[in-house]
Symmetry: C2
DNA sequence: ACAATAAATGCACTTCCGTTGCACTAAGAA
DNA sequence: TTCTTAGTGCAACGGAAGTGCATTTATTGT
């Protein structure tokens, strides 16, 4: 039994062939992936399957969904200590306007914001847009 | 000539009847509005016209577009000193999960974030999700 | 091993929002 | 008035998310 299979089982997700492949695909990339990306990578599989796999992964805390402002939902694997389902790991995301890639900056947490009277914060999303490391180095 | 007409002309937007109505509608609301909201408010007008009006307003710095994470673009009038087109007025937005309304918190600016080496920030978007003033008071 | 049951996958279709092309109309300039 | 430009309306497209249902694959109990 591989590491990936163990990881999936730990999160009570049955490690089917498709799921292992998708997990592997995401693990190899260091950037957030969209459903379309996975679709292109696995042309043989049906979009619904990939869609529902991501949803399952999300529910079980294997990946977290990222809204980077492009209008396209992206997903990234949760880090070992990622508590995104508890809204306790509010790391920020960086979207590069050049290569259109989105990365998690897991080391950078969203600073605490003082809200006006009456407002109750439950979640936060911070996306920085600009030029990423790879593109600025060109 | 009304205040609104003056405002529009100052931003070099011809104050047509439709545009004045839309501006008035947005001014009366203290929350960000979606195209659909305007559509419902002006059932007689065509969606394209409303859409293009918002786009014109946005280009000319009359409104700014807001991505509140719902997947639906919203728009709010720019405040007198709002320099959103210059990315110098990075105020944050609050989205209420109860009433689904989004407000600009113009007094609250996005704090400066130190990015890793190589990353160049050009813009930022911070959305706090939770319960708004109106809904928490219930 | 077998049937019974549940989960996963694939196909077709729908909905929603944003967007564009083109024709028509109204408004400002010569 | 005529010319020109800007604004409006109609129709249609396209991408992405999401749903219902049939089929296949895997797991459980006997």
């Amino acid at each position: 039994m591989t590491e990936i299979e163990k990881t999936l089982e730990n999160k009570s997700v049955r490690p089917t062939a498709m799921r292992i492949l998708i997990y592997k695909y995401m693990a190899e990339k260091d950037i957030a992936v969209a459903l379309t990306d996975i679709e292109n990578a696995f042309a043989k599989a049906d979009r619904t399957t990939l869609y529902r796999t991501l949803k399952t992964f999300e529910e079980k805390g294997i990946v977290h969904q990222i809204d980077d402002g492009t209008g396209i939902s992206k997903y990234a694997l949760c880090e070992p200590g990622c508590n995104c389902e508890l809204d306790q790991d509010l790391h920020l995301h960086f979207h590069c306007g050049n290569c259109d890639e989105t990365v998690c900056l897991t080391e950078h947490k969203i600073p605490h914001i003082n809200l006006p009277e009456g407002y109750i914060a439950e979640d936060a999303n911070l996306v920085i847009k600009g030029i990423c490391e790879k593109c600025s180095g060109q």
